[in-house]
Amino acid sequence: MGMFKGTRLAAVAAVLAGLLGGAATAQAADPLKVGFVYVGPVGDLGWSYQHDVGRKALEAHFGDKIKTAYVEDVAEGADAERVIAQFGQQGYDLVFTTSFGFMNPTLKVAKKFPKTKFEHATGYKTADNLGIYDARFHEGRAVIGTIAGHMTKTNVIGYIGSFPIPEVVRGINAVTLAARKVNPNVQVKVIWVNSWYDPGKEREAAETLIAQGADIITQHTDSPAAVQVAEEKGVWAFGQASDMAKFGPKRLLTSIIDDWSGYYISRVQAVMDGKWKAETTWGGFKAGMVKLGALNPAIPADVQKAAMDVKTGIEGGTLDPFAGPIKDQDGKERVKAGAALTDKDLLSMDWYVEGVQGKLPK
């Protein structure tokens, strides 16, 4: 991957298909044109795959009232700008760009094509025709942290990190806080693989964590490799982004599932109704953007209940995964009892809570 992401045949074919399709539909009854830009391959079974599931849901929901196209494996940077602009030039009505690194290119292109509406995932820059959206994955992590805290025998949870950015750190902290709430002896061991997607390296990291005593593996990387290792070695694992039960039929406890379908459908509907505005959306369980896979029957009933209580608590707004008191690694109190971290704090989180081992790379 890496060097040739933007020039992939599939990507070229998708753009060509878009061009041809654009020409062909100009005479027809003008369906709404929706474009998607993905950072990874749609076959990664993780992040980009789930966005594409959302795109397919759009097609199923609106039928021939819309036309969708996507370009996959788009490198973050100059190439992204070209791809996004292509959609603008072809008169697309709505374009979703689905990676943090597409933020600046999307903003630039949005200014050039005021008639096209843009939505950028996981960023923070907006414009009149550029909205942003993200999901509160840490809500899912609070649930799996609860399960992990109950299920661990060694009191060591292994965590495979991709890059030390706020989103990933937030996930580590959410798991740690939830696990220590039910089991104060839990330690979370983090290994960074410095990649979103490298199945081989994810496997090696999982093996390492298990060798160092972890009996629960969780990850913020995109492939199911870690789940396979857990199945093989007889420790517990969680799925990330999509339901990975197939890769760990015995050992997968549950999966955090990204579900963009509902969001995409509501945004397309808004455009059709002429009600679309550039908004900031950060939805979790309640909005249906974060879902939970089936719970493994191996989880004892009381633990299942504890997990579901956390989920319903978050949904109902009675439970905040980042409610105080929260201490950081050095034992310094960061959040007082009765207070909680704000969204702004969460979006810039760059410190570990108490119970995470190792130093956060900066």
């Binding site: 045949l9 990874g40 081989g200 890769f247 081992q357 790379p361």
Partner: protein
């Protein structure tokens, strides 16, 4: 050293040898190709094609042997395309190799569409009963998966081929001076095509190791750049098979050691640790291969150059 520590070391070595298999197989294949004077930068593309072919064949037939065969054939088919273009249509080897990688990425994604999310039983490790239970050396020497042994054997065979066999000498001659080899009657293009096909088969196997053994699944782009590392290993190993294997072990080993170091909470930035395998492999291979005369003797003199029998 205590038994636990010895055992931990043995496990680390086992993991290292497994991590090195795809790198070593691809590097060995490319080494043979380059020795014949052809530079094929399509390693990553051939590995991916091999990976998807192996997975698809294993899922469809239920037989891992078929999977491995399919991987070799798929790698060879890609190599044949490359060989035909560069050896017979005399296209630029660098450009064609890069194109082959891009093509392989796209083709494997296309073929693999229906296989995303499926699983296969991973290849079992060899078990020699009591022998595999011996502490320290049991797992290491007698308990690896068959591909680890194959990689070792292949390294030996390739070393022997170039150092001792007459046919190996011919391949080297073709890589040194195709015109001289042609003048004394050797079919230069056929020999080169053979070397290119061998490289393709090895790269296919390297990909199969990933999709069948190491992480038994198919996901797009699962080689994650290992083909490029294999290409670099060949150069830094100065075209010597044992050094290429050593390089692959070093790279795999240090990758795993740095993960362990992270897990133990050593206070070093993880970005620096992630760099270590690259740095250490380059430094070690450059140090052991620093004799410039010997490098010149080992590097195929005509590598990357277009050869035309009449020219």
């Amino acid at each position: 050293m205590s038994i636990e520590l010895l055992d931990a070391t043995a496990l680390l070595l086992v993991a290292m040898m497994r991590a090195a298999v795809p790198l070593a197989l691809a590097a060995l294949g490319e080494l043979v190709t380059e020795k014949s004077g052809v530079l094929n930068l399509g390693v990553e593309g051939m590995m991916l094609t091999g990976a998807v072919a192996a997975f698809a064949a294993t899922v469809s037939t239920g037989s891992m042997t078929f999977g491995l065969l399919a991987a070799m054939l798929a790698g060879m088919a890609m190599a044949l395309l490359f060989g035909f273009l560069t050896l017979y249509l005399l296209t630029n080897q660098v450009a064609t190799g890069l194109a082959l990688t891009i093509f392989g990425i796209g083709l494997s994604a296309f073929v693999g569409q229906g296989f995303v999310g499926q699983t296969v039983e991973p290849m079992a490790a060899v078990s020699l009963g009591a022998l595999s239970q011996i502490p320290l050396i049991g797992k290491l020497v007698f308990g690896q998966d068959p591909m680890v042994y194959l990689t070792l054997a292949l390294t030996g065979v390739i070393w022997w081929f170039f150092a001792r066999a007459r046919a190996g000498l011919v391949v080297r001659a073709v890589g040194e001076s195709p015109h001289a080899a042609h003048a004394i009657g050797y079919p230069v293009r056929l020999i080169r095509l053979g070397a290119v096909l061998f490289g393709g088969a090895c790269c296919g196997l390297a990909g199969a190791y990933l999709s069948l053994v190491y992480t038994p699944m198919w996901v797009e782009g699962m080689t994650a750049g290992r083909g490029w590392i294999a290409l670099a290993l060949v150069v830094f190993a100065t075209w010597r098979p044992w050094r290429a294997l050593l390089g692959a072990w070093l790279f795999g080993g240090i990758t795993i050691i740095q993960l362990h170091v992270q897990g133990m909470g050593v206070d070093l930035p993880s970005q620096v640790l992630s760099m270590l395998p690259y740095l250490a492999t380059i430094v070690v291979l450059v140090l052991i291969s620093r004799d410039s005369t010997r490098i010149r003797l080992n590097a195929p003199a005509s590598i990357g150059k277009v050869f035309h029998p009449e020219g």
